[in-house]
């Protein structure tokens, strides 16, 4: 009888181990870059990002990716030029990876070290702060990635021979839920 109980405990322990890992899924997102020029202020937004997070052994790895061509600035000509200058046909996806401790997942402020792959180059941004609001199962996370053109070796496009500013901050607005 004791053996049977021991066996039952062992069998039941397997699913318990399996529950140790959990995943996060991106429900909705909006990534918006801002471009400045003496004649123009432009925002380009993508709502097509997809994301997933996997937590294991106290660490959560997140991945967020958006096709470059889904960024819409409201002007199809400008979007095509953006696609060209960022080499969006050769490198069609912008990829963001970050890792946070599982204990920090529910904090109101998330301090993230980001790895961003874009235009064939990879840039790292340390200690980027994101604000989090938790509403039931939904985790609403917002923040700004302080990206620049030079981070990704993108030649600044010019208009009337005046180049745009090097700073291209990307505003991130995402809603996640735990799977």
């Amino acid at each position: 009888m004791k053996n049977l109980c021991f066996l039952a405990v062992l069998l039941l322990a397997l699913p318990v181990y399996a529950q140790g890992d959990h995943a996060w899924l991106l429900d909705q997102s909006s990534l918006t870059y801002h471009m400045s020029h003496p004649l123009h202020e432009v925002d380009g937004t993508s709502h097509a990002a997809k994301g997933k997070g996997v937590c294991h052994a106290g660490v959560c790895d997140f991945l967020l990716a958006a096709p470059v061509k889904t960024f819409d600035s409201g002007d199809s000509n400008r979007d095509l030029h953006m696609l060209q200058v960022t080499r969006g046909a050769e490198f069609p996806v912008v990829v963001v990876r970050f890792r946070i401790p599982e204990s920090a997942v529910n904090l109101p402020t998330l301090d993230c070290d980001l790895e961003v792959q874009f235009a064939g180059n990879t840039a790292h941004y340390a200690h980027v702060s994101f604000q989090q609001q938790i509403d039931g199962k939904a985790h609403h996370i917002t923040g700004v990635v302080p990206s620049t053109l030079s981070d990704f070796k993108i030649p600044p496009p010019s208009f009337f021979t005046v180049p745009i500013k090097n700073e291209i901050p990307v505003r991130v607005d995402t809603t996640w839920h735990q799977q």
């Binding site: 397997l14 004649l39 199809s76 095509l80 696609l83 200058v85 009337f160």
Partner: protein
């Protein structure tokens, strides 16, 4: 009593066997996967594998037998580690986990070349278009002096200057249009949105205007050269020219719209 004890022992044995099988099933699964990897990656037959390989040993043996270099070993080891630990240590999410289709993630050098060529030609189009505003504006101003008074029909200098400037404007306009027309179209880019849409609509005004204006101008020129005031349709040469110039200027502004001045 003895019968009951026997049944109990048999039940215990069966349950025990099931339990042990279930307990070790993840390990068996992992071994199967790694063996398959070793087989497909290195073409090592099952005979060359040890009888009861552990996941790591299987890959190591396969590696040695196949005479692979250290980088291949590392690669295989990583594959092995990834697969064997799949059920225990999940890998960070990858692009394939996100449901992005291969079409969305595949590099397309041809499309990039097309985009590069398009941008290059439209940059020339933009520069030429801006430069063309100079002869167009000059043609409008010189046109004011080309209208003869009643007693100056014989003086053709101002009209000749006007014709020369207008010819330059038309030539540059044609070159500007050429670079826009010949710029490659980008498939699946959807309909035009934003300022470029109005820019394209205005073509329907200034392009016919650029054809009609010199025709009417030539007719008016001949009327004046023959000593009488332009009549008929050629009397609207100036109105057509001004409309064309305004549409052209609006076209430049439209493609730059909205403008937020800040220095």
């Amino acid at each position: 009593m003895a019968m009951a004890a026997h049944v109990s022992a048999v039940r215990f044995g069966v349950l025990g066997a099931i339990g042990v099988t279930l307990l070790f099933s993840p390990l068996l699964w992992a071994q199967t996967v790694v063996t398959a990897v070793a087989d497909s990656a290195t073409a090592v037959s099952y005979d060359s594998l040890p009888d009861a390989p552990t996941p790591t040993d299987a890959v190591l043996t396969a590696d040695v037998d196949a005479g692979l270099d250290s980088s291949s070993f590392g690669s295989l080891f990583q594959q092995s580690a990834t697969l064997s630990s799949h059920s225990q240590n999940p890998a960070p999410p990858s692009l394939s986990d996100l449901g992005l289709t291969p079409d969305q993630t595949k590099a397309d050098p041809d499309a990039q070349a097309r985009l590069d060529r398009r941008t290059q030609m439209l940059k020339i189009h933009q520069r030429l278009g801006l430069l063309t505003t100079i002869p167009i504006a000059a043609a409008c101003f010189s046109g004011a002096g080309a209208v003869p008074d009643r007693n100056t029909y014989g003086d053709t200098t101002s009209r000749d200057v006007h014709v020369g400037i207008a010819a330059a404007a038309i030539g540059m306009y044609a070159a500007t249009a050429f670079y826009a027309i010949r710029a490659p179209r980008i498939p699946d880019s959807g309909p035009a949105r934003g300022g470029i849409k109005i820019h394209k609509y205005l073509i329907w005004i200034h392009a016919p205007g650029m054809i009609l204006t010199p025709i009417l101008g030539t007719m008016a020129f001949n009327d004046i050269a023959n000593g009488h005031k332009p009549g008929g349709i050629e009397q609207y040469h100036q109105e057509v020219a001004v409309t064309t110039a305004v549409a052209y200027a609006a076209s430049i502004i439209a493609v730059s719209w909205p403008i937020h001045l800040h220095f």
